[in-house]
């Protein structure tokens, strides 16, 4: 569970563009801690937005640092900050549906942050995301994990071109059905 201090710090960093020198130093010193926590927060936020419980930590790290943070920067910070504030304000144990509804209520009128939320879902479901929120232009970016896309698991299939199953498996229903 996240510490209140870290929650507040992340929230504070994401909302204030200018911070004093001491704060900067403090940030650098605790950079690893914050990053680690951001990854964890990103993972929890991802689970909330996708509705999928078991997301991979290593992939989360990759998606967060190598793609989404780089492409969406402050808007991703803003989304994480909103999530943190909603979580902090909710009674424990958390009602995930309430958390999701509250997050969505806060971002629905902010096109940039809403776009990032959708791309968090897309990157987990199909390992690709759109840089631009303008649907008329193609700005898809591939994020390296097609085979691990959660969409295929959700629909009880496998990523197209990656069966890993024996001949004829398709004649039977998926396992567990």
């Amino acid at each position: 569970m996240l510490g209140t201090q870290v929650l507040l710090r992340n929230s504070f960093i994401s909302r204030l563009p200018e911070i004093n020198v001491a704060e900067k130093l403090d940030n650098q010193l605790s950079n690893d801690l914050i990053n680690a926590n951001n990854e964890e927060i990103f993972l929890q936020l991802s689970q909330l937005l996708t509705g999928v419980d078991k997301l991979d930590h290593n992939i989360a790290k990759e998606y967060y640092h190598e793609y989404l943070q780089q492409k969406f920067g402050i808007y991703l910070d803003e989304l994480i900050g909103i999530y943190q504030r909603v979580v902090a304000a909710q009674q424990k144990p958390l009602d995930q549906k309430k958390v999701l509804d509250e997050v969505l209520a806060r971002i629905k009128n902010d096109p940039q942050v809403l776009h990032v939320a959708k791309q968090v879902v897309r990157i987990w479901y199909i390992s690709q995301f759109r840089e631009s929120s303008d649907p008329s232009i193609n700005t898809e970016v591939y994020a390296g994990h097609w085979k691990e896309g959660m969409l295929w698991d959700v629909i009880k299939a496998h990523a197209p071109a990656y069966s890993d199953k024996p001949h004829g498996y398709w004649a039977d229903p998926p396992k567990g059905v």
Binding site: L48, L49, T50, G51, V52, Q96, K97, L100, L104, K108, A117, K118, V121, R122, Y125, I126, Q128, E131, P135, S136, N138, T139, E140, V141, Y142, G144, W146, K147, L151, W152, V154, I155, K156, A157, H158, P160, A161, Y162, S163, D164, K165, P166, H167, G168, Y169, W170, A171, D172, P173, P174, V177
Partner: protein, 587 residues
């Protein structure tokens, strides 16, 4: 060093050329294959194709979707010098046709964009095909004499039947003999080389609901589709790499990652392995030369090698016989560039495709598509009948791929995200509920041969300085009426399923539209009359005794069968004729 003397030069290493090469080389003939592409055909290349499809095709910089037939092949250097039509039939944001290679002639009132593309590879478009291999039915060869429309073929089903058998064994076709022997008169003299592809779990549920339904007095039967996709490890002869049984990757188009689906690379490799065939790749043929004196024999094939130090320098090769096996666009283009074989004025004319459409629905129970081949079964009952006097036959397929091209799972997810603002458990559960129920019934129609539908040479040049194909294409009411009828039958079938949500059938109202099956046929028609035909029943051109044509370009009519098996059968027949001419016996 003197140029090696060959018995036969084959232009193009797709399925027709590869089968000819193997048949002739294995009989001891010296064969040269000239192929514009130059990629290897082994496992490393196959894996790379998959990587490119997954990564590059998803990326905005290519602007070609992952499922597009060209998507695995985007990294090939040959794309520059042997371009393929890409994004065919697509328009830009302003409604202007996207012209990548094709030059569309859109003049005239009934003109439409030709939408069928292909890939230029060692192995040809068999890298990117679905693998369906139904035979034509007997009346497909006598459309004019039976129904008074279209044209008759100069050969019959009986003539081609032994070659169908040979083709099925070469390609490795899985099929159910009981279901197909005698279907619409199409007898089978030998069983399929292996049992059929198992129907998917969902297809079995669909079959249970649709079998026995009567429409226009026709009793519907859902049958397993014969497919050049293995159900056992298989090699047609010693010396071939053994392909393994299908693992159900759900990716037949645009690439089979396992080689269970036939591609012609296997026959190219086997031909070379005999020691009698040379594959000269990266060689784009630019002209065929003939001698004078009334003989009109093709004496030389001119080509440019884009991998050579001087890529613009012409080289030549000679042989007793030349076989054109490019495809129904590239073959007529080369003949027109050479000004050959066209005394009938038929070269490039009567271009055809199978125009198809689909009706999509949500089955009452989960079918779990996207597991196994993209399609395992079909409805063949409307491929022949007296109605062909008025509108075309159509072949129906049941998809094992949700809504197919109409709506991918990614499209559905984007719709729920963008338009319904669904996130979290609401999104997950709706995707989990809806996508496994997605199904389609597609129908593929016949297009009559129309001399106005043609390939000519464009003034515009490709990046190697050769004319691009200019294409004029019209669709008449014979086909549109069949598209409408196919829609009606598909809708009736879907609405007959108990508890199906009728309001969720997306295409309830018929619209005058179609998609391509990418089955390019015609342009060098086969016939008995030299005045109206390019080749005779052996595939030999009437104008040049040592020039032959194989592939779908020789088809006089399209009928409704997916064309590859018929092209393969005809190619084997032509190879046999060439072998006889050269004095030799085949295996």
């Amino acid at each position: 060093m003197a140029e090696k003397i060959y018995d036969v030069i084959i232009v193009g290493a797709g399925v027709a050329g590869a089968l000819c090469a193997w048949k002739l080389a294995s009989a001891g003939k010296k064969v040269l294959i000239l192929e514009a592409a130059d990629q290897p055909t082994g496992w490393a290349q196959r894996d790379e194709f998959r990587e490119v499809m997954v990564a590059d095709a998803a990326d905005a910089k290519t602007n070609i979707p992952r499922g597009d037939q060209s998507s695995p092949y985007l990294a090939l250097a040959s794309r520059r010098y042997a371009p393929s039509p890409e994004l065919v039939g697509k328009k830009d944001k302003d409604g202007k046709p996207i012209e990548k290679y094709y030059d569309y002639d859109l003049t005239g009132p009934q003109t439409e964009m030709f939408k069928a593309g292909y890939v230029r590879l060692v192995g040809g478009s068999t890298w990117a095909w679905r693998g369906n291999t139904p035979r034509k039915v007997p009346n497909d060869f006598r459309l004019k004499s039976t129904y008074g429309v279209g044209e008759d073929w100069p050969i019959s089903y009986d003539d081609l039947e032994p070659w169908y058998v040979e083709a099925e064994y070469e390609l490795g076709v899985a099929g159910n003999d009981q279901e197909w022997n005698g279907l619409l008169g199409g007898y089978r003299s030998k069983p399929f080389p292996m049992r059929e592809i198992p129907l998917s779990y969902g297809d079995k549920l669909v079959k249970k609901e649709l079998d026995g339904t009567e429409i226009d007095g026709v009793k519907i039967t859902v049958r397993s589709t014969p497919q050049a996709r293995l159900t056992i490890p298989y090699k047609p002869h010693e010396g071939f790499h053994e392909r393994r049984a299908c693992e159900g990757n759900s990716n037949c188009i645009p690439l089979c990652p396992s080689s269970a689906k036939y591609d012609a690379g296997s026959h190219v490799k086997a031909a070379v392995k005999t020691g009698n065939a040379d594959l000269r790749s990266a060689c784009v043929v630019t002209e065929l030369m003939v001698n004078g004196g009334g003989e009109n024999r093709v004496t030389a094939v001119r080509y440019k090698n884009w991998r050579s130090a001087n890529k613009d320098e012409h080289q030549t090769a000679s042989a007793n016989v030349v076989i054109l096996a490019a495809n129904a666009i590239e073959t007529p283009k080369l003949l027109l560039m050479s000004n050959l074989a066209n005394s009938s004025d038929q070269v490039g004319r009567k271009l055809m495709d199978h125009l198809q459409d689909e009706v999509t629905a949500f089955f009452p129970n989960p079918l779990y598509p996207f597991r196994g081949p993209q399609s395992t079964c079909s409805i063949e009952d409307f491929r022949d009948g007296p109605f062909r006097k008025n509108y075309s036959a159509f072949r129906m397929t049941i998809g094992n791929d949700g809504h197919g091209r109409a709506r991918s799972p990614i499209n559905v997810m984007d719709d729920y995200l963008d338009n319904q603002m669904l996130f979290g458990e609401g999104l997950r559960s709706k995707l989990a509920n809806d996508i496994p129920k997605m199904m389609r019934i597609s129908f593929s129609t016949e297009l009559l041969p129309n001399p106005n539908n043609r390939v000519t040479l464009s003034d515009k040049l490709d990046s190697y300085g050769l004319p691009r194909p200019r294409i004029h294409f019209e669709v008449d009411s014979y086909t549109y009426d069949a598209l409408k009828k196919g829609h009606e039958v598909a809708l009736t079938l879907l609405e007959s399923v108990p508890n199906i949500e009728k309001d969720k059938i997306k295409e309830r109202e018929w619209q005058r539209k179609w998609n391509t099956a990418a089955h390019i046929m015609g342009t060098c028609r086969m016939g008995n009359d030299p005045k109206t035909s390019v080749v005779n029943t052996d595939g030999q051109t009437y104008d040049h005794p040592n020039l032959y044509i194989v592939g779908t370009s020789v088809f006089p009519t399209s009928a409704t069968a997916n064309p590859t098996l018929t092209a393969a059968a005809l190619a084997l027949k032509t190879a046999s004729a060439v072998l006889s001419k050269l004095g030799g016996k085949g295996k």
